[in-house]
Amino acid sequence: MQGTSLHKTTEVVLSRAIANRLGTLRFRLVLAMIVAYLAMMAFLIHSARHATQTAVVASDSSPAMVALASCMAFSVILTGLFVLARHGD
């Protein structure tokens, strides 16, 4: 009887710990995504305004392209990380 109760208590504590950890992870990932996106945007605006200094050769991929591709890849990676995290459900 006591063993079963202890087991249930342990389960509750574990699920709460997972929920708290996930809440923190969720918050950090949202912040990471927003910061990454804003950084990409700031870079694009900056590079566009200083076009003469950052002019690219037509045959190369431009810094703006790299910034966009990085942001897109980061979105996919963050999503994957969150899905792979242990959720307890």
């Binding site: 949202v30 927003i34 963050l78 969150f82 899905v83 959720h87």
Partner: protein, 523 residues
Amino acid sequence: MRIPRNCMLLLVTVSTFGTGGSAYSAQSGSQIHQAELSTIVFFVVFAALTLLISFWAARRATSSSEYLTAGSSISSGQNGLAIAGDYMSAGAFLGLSGAIYASGLDGMFLAASYLASWPIVLFLVAEPLRRLGKYSFADVLTHKLRERPIRILAGTSTIIIVSFYLVAQMVGAGELISLLFGIGYGPAVIMVGLLMIVFSTLGGMRAATWVQIIKAILMIGGSAMIATLVLVRFGFNMSDLFKAAASNHPNGSKIMDIRGFAQDAVATLSLGVGVLFGTAGLPHILMRFFTVSDERAARVSVFYATCLIGLFFAMLFIIGYGSIALLRGDATYANASGALFGGNNLAPIHLARAVGGSILAGFISAVAFATILAVVSGLLIAGASSAANDLVVGLSGRQLDERLRLRISRSAAMVLGVLAILLGLACEGQNVAYLLALATAIAASANFPLLLLAIYWDGLTTRGAVVGGTFGPYLVGCFHGNGANCLVKGTGSWSRNLSVRLAGTVHGAPCAVCLLAGIDRQG
């Protein structure tokens, strides 16, 4: 009773296609004739397939939960494909490719913004929605707030967003069908609208989901085929592709950089905020989380969708630059100023013809058509769900039984379909990508702040939600009105106009949140 009505609707649909086919056959020119014939064959196959799916689903759609959410029996993989299908809309496929064709990398900025919005959806709203909601996002809000005013507010904003989105799709459909069948814009919109009404009213969410799944697979396959054929032309050398594109475009190597969006930092920031948070407020996207069984399935489906959408946008990048490299300067597809025949939004279809011949062009045209049909059906069902569960319940103040809810949902789908046809006819010539962004901006400043605070803040009150949820979109509307003047006068580039129109979001969304919070503190 159901069988004869279905048969009648089928006859109407088939006769509509027949009209389109005979309108086409009056055209001359052997090459065009061959191309259009293959297009018509693909069209008829897809239309027959979608109708079969809708009749199959109609037999099962005997309850409102089956009609509106497919009985929450869709798997995570299927839902991921369906969500991706929602994003691979005509607006994205035709609009973004057209934007890249017109001004280079500016179009990809929108694509990156749309993709970046998916982690936000996953981290903040996907699981709570599945846990607390049943038919619409208002179900989540009413867990904490008074039901009637909140349902009226949520229903109104949903109908507005769905209407804008529908207009974008209908405009794309009108342009596409009128070009391919050689009929006028008006008859084309009416034809697509009728099919959409038949499909949505009968099949419901299960039919819409399966058509989205099939369409998503075909769309990814078709895009991959065009992208591969473009790369084959350039020996799989991206540098050669960029070089050819830069030499063909009047802006030269500037097409490799963001230009239009970077002119006004505040407007660009506003665009980013609008797109980043807008996805988490789009009703037809939120509806998808009610079709899966649990939170885990909701989570995994977003991951699948994000991967597929990323892949799709990567292929759009190649298609966009490929169209600049191969179509500009070719008198078969573009005039002397570089504008494509039928509009720049038809860049991927012209490119398919250029690299893969008439068969591939016909296939891509039919996929684009299926895309429009699938997306508008999902939109209609989202609108119908909100009309039945939010507006009617909110206005009448009483809960609906299953049969009445189902009947109202189907009627609402029909009314919204007619509205979409009328708005599509009225908005001829508008930029498809802009209309999508407009809907997203309203979603970001109306639905998303409400949903976020309802899920994560215990202090939210009904009064705060109603005032904040109304004032945010109002501000967006004011700024969009300003931007609309630019468009009507024909001043500025499309990206500039888009940014100005979205400038309201950067003010509207935080104002909505502040109002929600401020009034709640006083309350």
